[in-house]
Symmetry: C2
Subunit: 110 residues, 2 copies
DNA sequence: TATATATGTAATTACATTATTACATATAAG
DNA sequence: CTTATATGTAATAATGTAATTACATATATA
């Protein structure tokens, strides 16, 4: 769980997931050319994503083909539906009040 | 986005969200007693959660009352439904094959 | 007012993350 | 076989995280 959220907490890694969704089976080098950091940096990000199970790779000759794996995201998505779904319907209005009071702060001490 | 996922990437912070869901309006000290790290550590975690918008707080006398705010989670939940919903239905079977091949690895070089 | 309670701030420390450059290995093509 | 291509590994530096202890501020209550 830590690993999944940590993997998602970096813009570059989320962009990698997007690119692999749109064009599955890219190699490491090709993918890296979509960014302006080094290939090694991208490889480190890929290692983080693979440990989190969000990316799967397959060796093909001298290339390593990369694929997005959405199963961990599905898991979280479903879990949130279960754990917070009811709560979202009910509680949110009460909290919205507080949130709005907070947002409106900044001109109330005359 | 980075902030939200980073906030969620620590077990202690996820547990704080759970506790605030189950018992909203707790003060910092009371909350901290549910953990075996220092109150200061919990305050740091709370700062991370507040920056991410996942926790809202309200001063009440000498206490600071804490509330869970699920709006950021809802946002992500809905965004995933939009961006990956169709993909989940279609692509997953193809990727499951690769994932299963990967999982089955570890006894195939005789 | 004095005191206990609740929260906030500062300084410090250990460790993790993110990126870099330089070098090493593996494979395809000429 | 030699060369170019694709990926992998090592060492290193800058920055960020997570935790601690010690001290400071604010507020309720005896």
């Amino acid at each position: 769980m830590d690993q999944i959220f940590h993997a998602l907490s970096h813009e570059t890694r989320r962009k990698i997931l997007d690119l692999l969704r749109d064009q599955p089976g890219q190699g490491v080098g090709v993918l890296a050319r979509s960014f302006d950091v080094s290939r090694i940096a991208i490889m480190n990000h890929l290692a983080v994503l693979e440990k989190a199970g969000l990316v799967i790779s397959e060796k093909d000759g001298r290339s390593r083909l990369l694929y997005l794996n959405l199963v961990p995201l599905q898991m979280i998505h479903e879990r949130w539906s279960d754990e917070y779904g009811a709560y979202w319907a009910g509680r949110v209005t009460a909290l919205k009040d507080l949130a709005e009071r907070k947002t409106a702060e900044g001109g109330e001490k005359p």
